[in-house]
Symmetry: C2
Subunit: 459 residues, 2 copies
């Protein structure tokens, strides 16, 4: 171990302790944070080992441990035993918001917005309901977890996925993200870790960050978590749960095999992990596979949003929740919403009861299929194959692009797409792909135009 002449062993970070005031571990952590945020320490930089820095500063090892720990909890660093401590890759990245419609020149294929034509039936239904005698109640407060009738509709809806549950295990949320946030808050605590696919839905990243929950990628093969990966993360990284999107995964558009679903259910039971299963696209699949929740209902919070399948404006999701988390989840939803809109919840339930929701779903699937045929044709050889009802697709880029650089080029060409970087979890170098939305362009013509512009960039 080098005792002196540190200059010969270049350390990536040499803080000047003499100028710092207050407790050393706090002052050092703040300095480290500044140096990372200012760009003085770049993403991926390996920091000096704790012992080395402790020696250099003539402090105790544990003091440095605390400094690194503090910054790690802020998401600035990530450390692993034997390997060292590194500046996180997404430390500076902004937690980008989706949904943009400001710039009318731009063809929006970043955010995933279902086409509005299918909203007609929802609108008509809403008008119908408002003519009923008790319509004024629709503008009052509703139950935070939904009425029995609404929950019954949820049971009906989930049965279409091949998942049988009951009204005692269903709660309503103000759409999928609302339910996801509530589930995270109810089932985990600050500094807990959750395993996710190596690239995942950005909404779970921002939500987890708010609660101080850490996401870490589970080793995967062919876009599916491996058993070893989950066990490793459970035993060595101490994850408390998993977040998975089995159907048309975001952003890979991969649909998980039944075998893997069963495996995840079984391993979660053994390792005592709580699964948060985002069934956002399940019913969009041509032949929906059974959710993981159906193999481990006591171990899984299943979120079935209506946004992509029926209508985003309904702001409705049905959530299956195991007994042990039921009360906590309802409390979390109460803390976030007090109550959901009775109007929207009632419309959602009514649409399901009389089969209109299913009609809308089929209509959407048909529309998406038509669009995916065009996508497959124009981006042949680049777009990653998947079912024809996928609302999003993943495009493989040539070597010389990164997701981000292609994103910028596409924007120059008047098309908004999202590079893989936005979806990556943890430190890994993201793949050279971009995600495109199939449903967002308002017409098939605009979709075609957008695809052609992208094709031109790809050669």
């Amino acid at each position: 171990m080098p005792i002196n002449s540190f200059d010969n062993y270049p350390m990536s970070w040499k803080p000047d302790l003499s100028r710092l005031t207050g407790p050393k571990y706090i002052a050092l952590a703040e300095l480290l944070e500044r140096d990372i945020k200012s760009g003085k320490l770049k993403a991926g930089t390996k920091l000096p080992p704790q012992r080395e820095l402790a020696d250099f500063l003539d402090l105790n090892l544990s003091t440095i441990t605390k400094v690194y720990k503090l910054c790690e909890q802020k998401g600035l660093l990530s450390a692993s035993v034997g390997n060292g401590t590194y500046v996180s890759s997404d430390a500076a990245a902004n937690p980008v918001l989706l949904c943009g419609k400001e710039d009318s020149h731009l063809i929006e294929m970043g955010a995933i917005v279902p086409f509005v034509t299918s909203n007609l039936k929802v609108k008509q239904y809403t008008e119908l309901l408002m003519r009923k005698p008790d319509a004024l109640e629709l503008f009052s407060y509703g139950a935070p977890e939904g009425t029995r009738r609404q929950r019954t509709a949820g049971v009906t809806w989930l049965r279409k996925s091949g998942f049988c549950t009951d009204t005692e295990h269903i709660v309503l949320a103000a759409a999928g993200q609302n339910g996801l946030m509530a589930a995270l808050g109810a089932c985990f605590k600050s500094n807990d870790k959750i395993g996710t696919e190596p690239m995942t839905y950005p909404g779970v990243k921002t939500a987890a960050k708010l609660f101080g929950i850490h996401l870490l990628p589970v080793r995967s093969r062919d876009c599916e978590m491996t058993e070893e990966g989950i066990r490793y993360a459970a035993q060595n990284e101490n994850i408390k749960g998993l977040y998975v999107i089995p159907d048309y995964q975001n952003p890979t558009s991969h649909t998980m095999s039944v075998g893997t679903r069963k495996m995840i259910a079984a391993v979660a039971k053994e390792e005592n992990l709580l699964i948060i299963e985002d069934g956002i696209n399940n019913l969009l699949c041509e032949h929906p596979l059974p959710p993981i929740a159906s193999f481990a209902p006591e171990q899984t919070v299943y979120i079935a949003s209506l946004s992509k399948t029926v209508c985003p404006g309904l702001r409705t999701a049905f959530i299956h929740v195991p007994d042990q988390f039921h009360e906590k989840l309802v409390t979390a939803l109460y803390s976030m919403n007090i109550a959901i809109s009775p109007l929207l919840a009632t419309v959602s339930a009514a649409l399901i009861e009389d089969g209109t929701a299913e009609e809308i779903l089929e209509e959407r699937k048909k529309g998406i299929t038509e669009r995916n045929r065009i996508v497959n044709q124009i981006l042949e050889g680049f777009v990653i194959p998947c079912g024809l009802t996928a609302p999003l697709r993943s495009v493989q880029l040539p070597e010389y692009f990164t997701g981000k650089s292609f994103e910028i080029c596409a924007k120059q060409a008047g098309v908004e797409v999202y590079g893989a970087e936005r979806f990556s979890v943890g430190n890994r170098t993201p793949e050279k792909t971009v995600r495109i939305s199939v449903t967002t362009p308002p017409s098939v013509e605009i979709l075609t135009e957008g695809l052609q512009r992208l094709r031109a960039l790809l050669q």
Copy 2:
């Protein structure tokens, strides 16, 4: 310091270390948690001083410090220097949910629900909007923080309170609680402390708990925080902010003087505290006083919900946010909602634009005034005086009642009310009061009936 014969100095808690496995501080904390939750250690019990327990168990002082700290962070204990460590009063209390309509025999005067008759105009307006050509967009996604037009409506609405802000500082939330939760998540972090009135809105308690934020009561006089109280909490308890309800405070129904508003604004600036001001009832006041936000706009997140003033079913609140927290708040809202319902947000904005919202407000105020006259008459001598447009009232109980015992008696008599215990923050013995809702009973007749039943219990 007693070295042996501990039996002579009765310690309230004598854990048996020998049976515990794993790290001692964790095992002890879990044991303590069990003993509190099982009722073995009752609320208010003084625990042994850290040194004494350390001696008894032959452990280091700091180990016990950690045990107590862990439990304190779970809200089970509260400690103060020189005084000791006590089991929290609300440790066992369930974070009760409001809004109940299940039991039709019960006259609901617990939850505060605006009367539904005023929802008529909102309903009509909604129907009108849905006949417009671009109505299908109302069922798509909206901007998470609201469109410019919606935010402009918010500016107009806040101006009625005497608070001038601009669209750059306004964001929309899915009602007040949604905004409150977002503000807590955006502006504070786990284990931060926030000062509140000694009794406050329970929704802030559940929301803060989800984020691991601790509430503590600020010393008050005549229902208003004192300057010394705030400074003390800032300097000695290290609070990072304040949560206040200046108008018809929940549950006291007290309206804060302008002098105190200015004082809070000034002290918050000096002590660098962020104020979260809940303007839920501001516009209900006969002559709305200027919000604290108007005296410290850079220091205050102001939440103006439409639920109590216009219509709860709109699920809309306008939030004024200082620059420094703008991006964080929008991200928090995005994490909770992705987007708010464009339908409801558009209706809210339109109602404000053409003055209908104001009409509804005046109508509500008139209705509440009529009801409060009845309240004042029937509960004369018991109900605490306040303005006639208060949607909630506080009732002083005779000596021999506690809030909770009266709550139970009232329920026996067929009236739901909420005792002071539900609102109390921290350890203090709650006052002997209950809160009653003025607006919830569906008719004046039912209100009268409910009040008479309560009157009979009071003698």
